[in-house]
């Protein structure tokens, strides 16, 4: 075990932790016998303190592929495998992840604990909809299997359960078949919120949809955005001999140091957003792009989080029910515009119906944006929380670093049941995080 300063992707908060690297199931008994409490951590792809604690179990070396059925696409892997590593293996064989977030540098365990969603939620749901079973370690020392059929309460509380029910060891899930690693992309300019909403409606049957939205616009340009629509290309679509090839060395750029805070300010961000919106001349542009460029555009810039400086940043992601989305987003975007606290592009997605115990998505619109940490930010976000709650929405725990306890309890309808199940399987809170303490989940 070694102690180091550690933070997740937002570089906030920064904590001192002792890290234990898990390599083998044999090491788990010493974890159980230890008097300390732990939280499991994958690649630290969450933004806040979900996988931070004084004692961390790093799963990065517990990362082997255990089994793969080439006819059904059912794969079984240890929880520390990254999506990056998985993609290298599955794409050449004609398979892809059923759900993927905007970065491939997350682990499978993290994907389950966050119940990640992607650009296809409105068609294919979240990650938990594709899981067949999970093998995990409980605080009793028992290793158990859970699924929709077996130990259902454990399964429901583990998907999106932020690692609080136990250590996820192995996950068995179903991949989706693809013919090509390329995506047929359409990108469409939308002048304002009205237009982007109707575009999302128009393309609601397309597999992948996401909008990049300029949060600094106001008045008739409020909600100016670029919609990206994607479908998996078929084998013949791109004139290339090897449609399923994955190329190495994909990180073209690297941010070598923490930028001084002055670099990212209202002015520079406005310029960036303007250039981004106008990067295509016509209103509609069609192209064929690699899966990497479509799903993981930010991954091309290594350490892009350093652009936010040493103080780091906070990502704020919320969802509003469909009926309130237009009005709610209008109000929130107006507030953000007025505050001048926004940063780069924000991401807008349309979610489909969703169900679950500790479940973030709901039928409606979700907006995710970054806020560099500045004076007044936290108070501003508390005000935004009030608006989100007012419209019946909630925040995504995986992005959260600062939400107040009451906001969580008032916005997640099954929070009490979630806590009850955690207490069933993790009675002494052997598994806890700074986030779970902050939100009052792991306090007795």
């Amino acid at each position: 075990m070694r102690t180091s300063q550690i933070s997740n992707w937002g570089n906030y908060p920064l904590v001192n932790s002792t890290i234990l690297n898990l390599r083998s199931k044999q090491e788990l008994s010493s974890v159980i016998k230890s008097k300390f409490d732990f939280i499991a951590r994958g690649n630290g792809g969450c933004y806040g303190d979900s996988s931070l604690s004084s004692n961390i179990i790093s799963t990065l070396k517990f990362n082997k592929i255990i089994a793969f059925d080439t006819t059904t696409g059912i794969i079984s892997c240890q929880s520390g495998i990254t999506f990056d590593s998985l993609i290298e293996f599955i794409i050449p064989k004609g398979w892809f992840l059923p759900v993927t977030p905007g970065t491939k540098y997350i682990t499978l365990g993290g994907a389950v604990a966050s119940d990640i969603h992607g650009k296809n939620h409105h068609v294919e749901g979240s990650f938990k909809n594709h899981i067949i079973s999970i093998q995990m370690l409980l605080s009793s020392g028992e290793i158990v299997e859970c699924s929709n059929e077996l130990n259902q309460d454990l399964f429901k509380a583990t998907c999106g359960g932020m690692g609080l029910t136990g250590i996820i060891l192995e996950v068995r899930f179903k991949l989706k078949k693809i013919e090509s690693a390329f995506i047929n992309e359409i990108s469409i300019k939308a002048k304002n919120l009205e237009e982007i909403f109707s575009l999302f409606e128009e393309y609601k049957d397309s597999m992948y949809t996401v909008a990049w939205i300029d949060c600094l616009q106001s008045g008739k340009n409020l909600g100016r955005s670029l919609l990206m629509v994607g479908e998996h290309a078929s084998a013949n679509d791109k004139s290339t001999k090897r449609p399923l090839q994955v190329s190495k060395n994909r990180q073209k750029l690297r941010i070598p140091f923490y930028f001084p805070e002055i670099v990212l300010n209202r002015f520079t961000v406005m310029i960036f957003n303007f250039l981004f919106y106008h990067k295509q001349l016509g209103r509609v542009k069609r192209s064929i792009v690699s899966f990497d460029k479509f799903f993981y555009p930010l991954d091309f810039i290594k350490d892009w989080n350093k652009m936010y400086g040493r103080r780091g940043f906070v990502q704020y992601q919320f969802v509003l029910p469909l009926g309130n989305s237009k009005e709610g987003l209008h109000k929130i975007l107006t507030e953000i515009g007025k505050s001048g606290m926004g940063s780069f592009l924000a991401v807008l997605k349309l979610f489909g119906e969703s169900d679950g115990l500790i479940n973030f998505p709901m039928r409606g619109y979700t907006l995710a944006l970054d806020f560099p940490i500045r004076k007044g930010l936290f108070e501003f976000l508390d005000d935004l929380d009030k608006i989100v709650l007012q419209y019946g929405g909630r925040l995504y725990l995986t992005k959260d670093a600062r939400m107040k306890r009451e906001v969580f309890w008032n916005s997640y309808p099954n929070a009490r049941e979630f806590k009850r199940i955690i207490e069933k399987f993790n009675p002494d809170f052997k598994w806890r995080s700074i986030q779970s303490d902050r939100l009052g989940i792991s306090k007795l």
Partner: protein, 242 residues
Amino acid sequence: MTVLILGATSDMSVALVKLFAAKGHNLQLAGKDMDQLTGLKSDTELRYNVLVDVLEFNALNYKSHSHFYHNLIVKPDLVILVFGYLGSQQSAIANWEECKKIIETNYVGAVSILNVIANDFEKRGSGTIVGISSVAGERGRMSNYLYGSAKAGFSTYLSGLRNRLHSRGVHVISVKPGFVRTKMTENLALPRLVTTSPERVAELIYKGVMRKTNILYILPIWRIIMLGIKFIPEMIFKRMKL
């Protein structure tokens, strides 16, 4: 080629497995933790489409070594001995069990299994043996001499073996790593400039095997560092706090 790795669950081994499997070689993974080995086997077979066998092997169970080797259905072309035990110098001074474990794992166990393999390789007249020793064996210093002396013994053994087997068409490589970021050194604060990764170690070992190097310092700078250390007169060295 079939490659036998002794101590296959170590971080260096995992990197070696990836490298050799990617080049299409079949693997025999020997170690204590069968669970971890099975995971490594399935991952390697699925990713690289090579044959991987997992075998139970305990460096300290000398009696089993002959049986272990002769039971291999396919005899390896290349053997890489990766297992080792750093232990705690501090507690080993007073605790004989810990001291014994350091000496036996790093020297006695290594000699025991390599004797068996060397005899077989000599008989058939082919093969390569790679032994991972350490720069700690170059000179005994106060912070590390139990581990160091065992490794010193191992280095001398490998050099004698190299001498014996050379005329028989068998090549022996002594690998002497300096600082490597692995499970063994997890609790130590290592100087960044001269510390390397298991992946780099695997790359250099692969190159060494292809080029039939005799003694491989990883990183190469350690050859110079150790030369410097060996040159210090004993009168001065005994007063230092290394």
